[in-house]
Each structure stands twice: as C-alpha cells, then as structure tokens.
Symmetry: D2
Subunit: 338 residues, 4 copies
Amino acid sequence: MAKKVRIGMLGAGRIGKLHATNLVNAVPDAEVVMIADPFMNEATEEWAKGLGITNVTKDSEAVFANPDVDAVFICSSTDTHAEFIVKAAEAGKHIFCEKPIATDIKVIEDALAAVDKAGVKLQVGFVRRFDHNHKKVRDTVASGMLGAPSIVKVTSRDPEAPPMAYVKVSGGIFMDMMIHDFDMVRYLSGSEVTEVSAYGTVMIDEEFKKYDDVDTAIVMLKFENGAIGVIDNSREAPYGYDQRTEVHCAKGCVQVANDLNDTSMISTADGVVCEKPTWFFLERYNNAFIAETNAFVDAVMNDKEVPVGGIDGLMPVKIAKAAKISLDEGRPVKISEI
Amino acid sequence: MAKKVRIGMLGAGRIGKLHATNLVNAVPDAEVVMIADPFMNEATEEWAKGLGITNVTKDSEAVFANPDVDAVFICSSTDTHAEFIVKAAEAGKHIFCEKPIATDIKVIEDALAAVDKAGVKLQVGFVRRFDHNHKKVRDTVASGMLGAPSIVKVTSRDPEAPPMAYVKVSGGIFMDMMIHDFDMVRYLSGSEVTEVSAYGTVMIDEEFKKYDDVDTAIVMLKFENGAIGVIDNSREAPYGYDQRTEVHCAKGCVQVANDLNDTSMISTADGVVCEKPTWFFLERYNNAFIAETNAFVDAVMNDKEVPVGGIDGLMPVKIAKAAKISLDEGRPVKISEI
Amino acid sequence: MAKKVRIGMLGAGRIGKLHATNLVNAVPDAEVVMIADPFMNEATEEWAKGLGITNVTKDSEAVFANPDVDAVFICSSTDTHAEFIVKAAEAGKHIFCEKPIATDIKVIEDALAAVDKAGVKLQVGFVRRFDHNHKKVRDTVASGMLGAPSIVKVTSRDPEAPPMAYVKVSGGIFMDMMIHDFDMVRYLSGSEVTEVSAYGTVMIDEEFKKYDDVDTAIVMLKFENGAIGVIDNSREAPYGYDQRTEVHCAKGCVQVANDLNDTSMISTADGVVCEKPTWFFLERYNNAFIAETNAFVDAVMNDKEVPVGGIDGLMPVKIAKAAKISLDEGRPVKISEI
Amino acid sequence: MAKKVRIGMLGAGRIGKLHATNLVNAVPDAEVVMIADPFMNEATEEWAKGLGITNVTKDSEAVFANPDVDAVFICSSTDTHAEFIVKAAEAGKHIFCEKPIATDIKVIEDALAAVDKAGVKLQVGFVRRFDHNHKKVRDTVASGMLGAPSIVKVTSRDPEAPPMAYVKVSGGIFMDMMIHDFDMVRYLSGSEVTEVSAYGTVMIDEEFKKYDDVDTAIVMLKFENGAIGVIDNSREAPYGYDQRTEVHCAKGCVQVANDLNDTSMISTADGVVCEKPTWFFLERYNNAFIAETNAFVDAVMNDKEVPVGGIDGLMPVKIAKAAKISLDEGRPVKISEI
C-alpha cells in the first residue's frame, strides 16, 4: 500500500463533494487523486481545484483504468452503484459505496459476488453507525452490561418533505428513508430481522398517494434473537431532524436523544425555551461522515475488516421490500420471502 | 344532592383502600359512609376506623340498600364489576368503577345499558388520564396548536414482573397491562382505534408461555382520523415505572418524559448519575388518583359529564381482544371484527 | 405520650392554615386539638370546623394553659415568636416555630435558654431541608462519596416581588428571603459560616431603596471546613420560583434543578418549549411542609432529636445581620462580629 | 488585499499548531505562508510540511520582514506577546494574539498604542466568545428580549489541576484561569466591571499555597450598568470541563449547560447514567477556535472591526489584578484602583 490511500471519486454531486472535502481536510491517510462526473463543469472543476484536485474528468472509466487509484468512492446516482462496484472490483480497487447498492436483490447479490471474487474491500455508506449517539447505544448493548435486548426502537423524522420530483423516483419511504433505520436496528440489536409488519398513512401531502407512497410510517420488526422492535418515520418534523434510538434490555434501557444546536434554556413567563435538534443530516451526521471515511481508509490501509460490509448493504434492501409488501398487502411479511 | 357526596365503598383491597384514603383526606366534597368487603376483618376495620369510617360490612348488598349512599366505588375483584354496576344502577347510585368493567364485551354492554336506563353516572378508573404529563400531551393535541396528529406513541413498562399466580389470572398482557395504553392512545389522539397488529415475545420469564402470555409486546394501531400509532410494553424495567407518551403532528411534536424521584445530577469521573423514574403506579399516579376521584365527585355533585365514561370502559377491552387475536393469528385485526 | 401528639395551633394565617391542614390530613400521628388566633373570625372558625377542629379561640394563653396540648405550632406574626416559645417552654409544651425566631440575637438566645431549661423540643421551620432535591444534595455530600466540599452554591429567586407594604416591614432581603439560603448552605456543607461578603443592587423596583433594601443580591461565604460558597437572590423571576443548589467536592459535583410543572417538550419550528418551575413555595415545598411536620411529630412522639434545632434558628439570623453590615459598609464581615 | 489573507505564525507549540491546522483545514480565506519558532526542529518541520507549509524558521524577525505576510498569529510564550505586537504593528501586519497580551498594564497599554498608531487590526484570543452556548447567552441578553441583566453567573472548572511546574509560573488562578471568565462576564453583560471581591481556598493540593495561589475561588463583581455577578473556579472537576454561564434579567433568565460527549441515558436498577461534559478546552472549544480564526481573517480581508479588540485584552488583566488584591487584602477592590 502507498503511504496514503489514493482515492478516485465517482460522482461530484452533493454527497460526492461532501466526501471529497472530508477526505482532503479530515482524513490524513487519504489522498484524492481524481474525480469523475458525467456532468463535470467549470464550477465543479473550480471547486475541485480549491481542494487541490486537478485531475477531473467526465469519464468514469478513467478512474477504473488509473493505476494510481487504490480505492473508489461511488457517489454517483443509485442506478450506477452496482455497475460501478463490479467495474471497480474487476479493476482491483477497494470500494466505498453510498447506500443503497441497488433496489434489486439479484443486482446486489451479483455485485457482492464480484467483490468477493476480486477480494477487494467494500464498505456501504450507512453513516449513522458512526454517530456518537447511536454508537453509544450499540456499544452499550453489545457490551452485554444490560443483558439481552428485548425492544429496539428507532424514531427517524426528516425536517421537511422532499420535493415531489424526488419522491417520484425515490423508491418510496421504506427504500429511500427507512432503509437507514433498517440498518440501524440490525446494528443496535446485533441480530437479523426476520419479519416486518408495516402501517403507513398520508398526513403531510396528498400527492404522496400519486406515487403509491406514504409520508408517515410505522414498522414493527421481529429479530432472530427473540427481540421485537419498532421504527417510526415521518417525512416532516418542522422542528428539525429527529433521530432517536433506544434499546430495552433485561437489566435496563439505553436511549439517546437528539443533538441540539446549543444547550440554552431561556426561561420567561411564557415558558422555558430550549434549542431545536440540529437541522438535517449534514449538520447531525457531519462528524459521522468524517468517521466513516476514516474507518474505510483505515481498513484499506491496514487491511482490516470494513465496519459496514456487503451483507449490510443487502439486508436493509430486503427489509425495505418486505415492508412495502406488508403495507400493500396488509399482512406481516417474513424476510425469507424476499 | 346532599352537601357532600356520600360514598359507599365496594372492596377494601389495595385499590379500595387507596381510593377510600384519598376520598377522606383529599376530596373535600366527598364523605365515605360505609365500606363492604367480603373479606372484611379486624385489621381492615381498624384501618377504616382510622379514617373515621365505622360502618363496615361483609355484605355488598347493604351498600346498594343504603339510602344514605349517593355513589359507589367498585374496587372489588374484576369478575364482580359488571354485576355491581348493574345493581348500583338499579339502586340509583352513581358509579365509579375500577378498570376493566369486564373482559366479555356482551357483559360490558349489558352493564352500560343498565347504567343508561337508570340515568346514573358511571366513571371508569383510567387514572392515567389525570396525570399531569399525559394530560399535557392530550391538551396540547386537542388545542389544535400542532395541527393534525399523525403518530401516537406510548411506552409503558412495569418495574418488575408480577408473580406467576397473578399472571395466570391476569387475562394476559393486553387485557391486564396494555389496556391502560389502549385507553391512553384514544385519549391522546382524540380518535377511535380501527385496527391493530401485535407482536409479542417472552424475554423475561419462560413461564409466561405456560399461560399463553407474553412479557414483552408491541402493538401498532390505526386511527379513524388517519393517524397511526404504536405502544410498547415490557413487564420488567428494573429502573422503574417507564411511562412516556408522544404525539407527532403536522406542525410539531409533544412528548413527556418520566417523573423522577428528584432532579439531582451527581457528576464524577465515572459519569453523571441522575435519578430513576418514580418506582411504580402508586408513586407515579398518586396525584392522578386524587384528581380522578375529585373529578367523579364533582361530576356527581354538580351534575356534570364524567371525564371517562362507559364507552371508555368498553373500547379498550375491544382493542385488547383484537390485539390478542392479532398476536395469535399473526395478522392485523380490525376492531369492528370484535 | 398520648397515642397521638396533640397539637395547639398559634396563628391561623396562611402558614398556620397550611400546617393545620397538613397535620389533619397528612400526619397520622398528630391531632389538632385547638387553634388560637387574635383575629379569629367566623370564616376561620368555619375552616377549622371543616378540618374537624372545634376548639377555637382568640386567646393564645388558652393554648399554653390547656393540659391536653402536647405541642404547639407557632405560626403567628414574627414579633410574637420568641415570647410564645418562652411561654410554651414554661408550660412544658414541645414547640414547632416558624422562622425566624426573632431578628434580635439576644431575644433568640433568651428563647433558646428557656427551651433548654424546660427540656422541651424546639423545631424551627426551615422547610427546604425537607425538599427531596436539596435533601439529596445534602445526603450525597454527607455520605462522603464525593470527598470534601469546596464550593457551595445556592440560587433562590422568587417569582414576583412582594408588595411594598410587605417589603417595608420584611426586615430586608437578607433577613426575609436569603435567611432560607443561609440555613441551606449550613445544611448542605455540614459546616458553620465564618464570614460573608455581600453585593446588592436595585434592578426591579426603585422603591426598594426607600426602605434601605435591595431586590437583587449576591453573598459570598466562607465556611469553617475551608469551603467557600455563594448565594444569589432575586425578588423577581417571572418564570417562577427558581430554587437550585449545588456542591462541588473533591471527587465530583452534586446539583439539583427545579421541579417543573410537568415533563413536556413541545417541539415546533419556533423552538422546543418545556415547562416552567412550579410557581412558588406552596407548590414547590408542598411535600416538604408535610415532611417537616411529620418529622417534628415523630421527634415528639418517639423522643428523638428534632432535625432543625435552636442553633439552626440562631445562626441564619447572625449571618443575615453580617450580610447587611457587609452590604452597608462595603467589607467582608465575620460572623463572630455579630 | 490578496485573494487570501497570508498568515505568518509566531510560535509552533500546542496552541500555534492548533491555529495553523485550523487555518489550513478550516479557514478557506487564509493561507499560512510561514512559521517561526525559536525551538523549530525536524518534527515540527515535518508537521508543517504535512500541512503544506514549507517556509519554517527559528527567526521571528523573518516573519515581520516578509512582505508576503499580511497578518501574524502570535502564539509564542506570553512574555513575548507585547513585543511581537509592537513589531508586527510597526511592520504593518494585522495581529491575532493569544491571551493575555501581558500581565503588566503599562506594557499592554504601550502595545495597544503601537497598534493604534499603525492602524492595523488586533484580535485577542478569547475563544470562548465564539462558543455556540456562551454566544447564545450573550446574543439573547444583547437582543434586549429579556430586559436589563441583573445577575451574571459563570462557572468554570478545569478537569484536572495543572502540574505544579506550571502553577509556579502561571501568574495565579485569576490571571491564568479566571481571566477567561472576566472576559466572559464583560461579554455576557455588555458592561464594564467596576469592582470585585474575591474569596479563595486551597482544597485540592496544599502545594498551591507555596506559590501564593489558591485552587478554588469565587469572585463577586459589580458592573457599570448596575448588574452584579459571580464567577466560581475550581482547578479540578474530575467529571470534566465544567463551563456554564447564566444571566438573570428583568423578564427572564438565559443559561447554558455543558456540552456532553453524547446524549445517552442508561437506566438500570442502579440509577440513570448520562454522559460527562466534553473533557477539556480542546474538545469543548474545538469549533470556537475555528470560528475565532475565521472571524479574524474575515475582519482583515473585508476590513471589518475585529470581534475581540485591544480593550478586551486589557480589561480582564485589570480585573484579575484587582481580584488578587481583594483576595490578599480581604476587601473589595475597584477596577479604577488598578
């Protein structure tokens, strides 16, 4: 391995820019050597130059072909993820891929097979696992100090509903939004989900119905280890990004509240006003994005296991599919059906 | 109406003693004129005398026959509730009845019919509606300041599992424990439950299985107004009685945490230790018990509507039955099926 | 001792009524046998009858002369406290006396001498020692688990400034309001105050100046055990009664926050609103009033030491006097000067 | 002005390294062009190279002489601050100087005069003004929404006492530690301090006495606007860096609590354990260090007023001197005496 892990970026949209900036400013062992984006333009080139990255291209193939690239960051549109994984694997590059790998199970499985065959590392971008709060819940449960988990709870609400143009192509609330929470419950419980039951409703915007989607959903889950759980999602929490997790165990309960903008309490005759949660995922998971990138670079550089692997990319997609079937058919759905 | 509402107590067990004590010490407009309990003994007589109540008997009929009794408190065993309601109604007495009225729907309906026919008042003992925290959630939702509710959440965990002798005759977790939460979600949402889906697991004590019961359960609910909700129950939370409610609405979210023993924070190198929730329902709902009793006495004295009426006694039983079927049959169950 | 401690009340004003009600409703081992108040009138008689107390009089001497009175509650105006203590002591009655005993040191010392001579019990009404929060701070410090205390902090603010008619005769902020906190720091630290330095300012109402008083004050304190401390007082905190205490020790810190009306959090785009502290001392120290009365009755009935004795009545008055001199003369003042 | 503000660093110790790293990674409008440190060695050169800074020297004069340097960061030992300010001013460089400028009033005043004469900008490193929490307190007070401030409170405790070698040359608790809080109370109150009274005690380590120092101190303050205040300091809070501020005003109170490592609550039969405050100033004020540097660079680049100017460097030193005299002489000391 070179002294630094040399990264080729695939995609320079919002999340690609975020990862590139973190890699340059906050991941000492990484070096971004090139960026490919089919929509590469002058503004993006200027932005890249500001980070000291001068090798920019519209051609993703150039990344796979570049012998100076040790690893790729796949931050392109979802429909390219699986294809790029396969190409990167075949080129012997390690892979960091944004979630989801794909929405089709077979496509994911084929991509994972290519990764296995090539013997490269693949980390999937479930960033919340690196959040100080959720990690504390997981570590507490995993330590065994509270005994066996029995109830796993996740609340996850976005501050504002996305535009309908986005909703239309999002894959629906389970695949687009709750998928993070499906990953989270696996992470927190240390166990696989075996069955789900979903309820959904449209309370925010009637237009969700047009796209066979809901804006508010609750999903119950059964786990292999006997625990049960529940996730609630809302597309709109006007007070900010609501991200809470909790695991009830035999000897006690561990839970985390939101991170707030500040710790102020302003007390007047009208009441006591505290700060709201940090606004959205960029604010809330800012440090987690840096941590996941460092973890990947560390895994590559020191040949360690990645903390979020291929199976972690596959299972939440299966659970999301099961949840959609449950909602549509009004019945519990086993993950083994998927 | 007399200057004070004259009460006849039926049952002098734990809950009967609690109500009698509150009536004497904390309900200025009430007067306890007699107490009937089939197990009346010297100790109980002594206790009654301490409260200034000298008319004690083993014969419940004496209460119904007593012209000086304006209202009865039915605190006897559950299987006598419906019968006592009918007798009290026929005797023209107003009725405060501990929950549940019965576990059989027909029996409840017959009792409610007797109440209606007699034109007396009936209040059911869903004490949590009178808790300062839950009431605040309900009042906030009911005020409309947060817009329409979309997600209703209730967490309810007992500090320690009851003895198996109790579990055996309890009617199961839904009828015995979650019934309070079924009432709560109706109260908080201001809407009727239309369907439930239940998951349950045995994580605390394998013996629950013997009695076709679970010790840990999650139930999802649909409401008439389009909202959805979830309740989680555990028979054992070693840190104390865990009683939290939350309603997410269009414009915001209202939630309440547990009452704690005190507000202390002890900070050392080992961490920051805060107080646990108040231990169990007697501690947590102490003031709520007083408030519900005052509310009943006020309704009787001033001919107001009772705050928790017959329908509130009936619906949670239906929901509990639906939840049990859902758990047993592994499918969502509509309340209209019951 | 009789089966119950038979109490004679002296004074039926706000605080006298409070104690009488608590004694009747919440102190099982006490019995109120008579009430004397020079302003006894029909309304008060009616109120007393409601509590079952029929022996009412304008003549305080009748209390001292009554052989059926085991103990007196001195709830009359401050200028009568010392005299009543002496008379009660001479009559062999145990004494609960509201604070302060007097504002003159010699008068207090004479009263305490009479108590000593008679061998009766005297408890002074520093009710905050019985509050669950402050007691927890004290118990934690006293347990030694945090090592030696080094900084003692008390914040005490009233919700609204008293009327000027009251301010005029109050004895000033130190004697009327901060006296509770002078008791509190002795209680929390387990040590005597040796010196104070006071700063004061008029920020709420210029009229305080007319009465040589301030409405806002901070006092630093030195303790015999080497610790130092600080108290801050404001006559007006529009958000409610602000009562916080904190002790920093060698191994950690213990602190308590206010009791709130409820635990609600209402989150909207405008912020997160929590409840205010309970409004004033009647709400905040409601249970503490009951506890102090039970403690006194227990001490009398079972011949135990009272938890707040004569020295606890004397020292805060000395500290208050020292604080006033410090404010007036702009210098630290030793308690030994008083 | 060049497209970026070109910075010359003076000092490459802990705080110099911190600022240089922030300037490179987190201040887009700045460029570090050289670093001077009399103890420059290979390790430091390597560190600088890692940041892309190749111009390193032992000679501070080279910084002042470099025409490519727009501004200097004075991060050298305290005894060089004033001299470097004068030299930088004479060379026409803008200046960011770590606190304190000096401990001698005349020396500070001469340095400020040189800055004034040269017309360059000087910002003093009181970093806590840029903390999200304290800033919120100040902004709330400054907005006027709470009316006039009456009580200003600051708690500031370090997690562990410094080594005695440091204490010996530290200048004492007021000049070394509480100086930050003296700046803070000016910032929060928006008013100048006019008088202080100090209490101090040695509770942590008897050795403090050897150096005529204390390890625990409380200082009361009077402000020009009529408010009063109090600061408490401890050299050791084993639970972590305790940094709380509070301002009580006519219409309400604003206060901030500590930042915690995470928001977890672990509830068991033993109690509810929450996280400790972030460990020390590097963790707590990490973002504030970045913010103050950006603010300085912004002021230079866009010719704005610096947020912490020369007077802010002078006044806390005067207050610290007054506090020491107060402690030594046992009397209040007016700032005008200094």
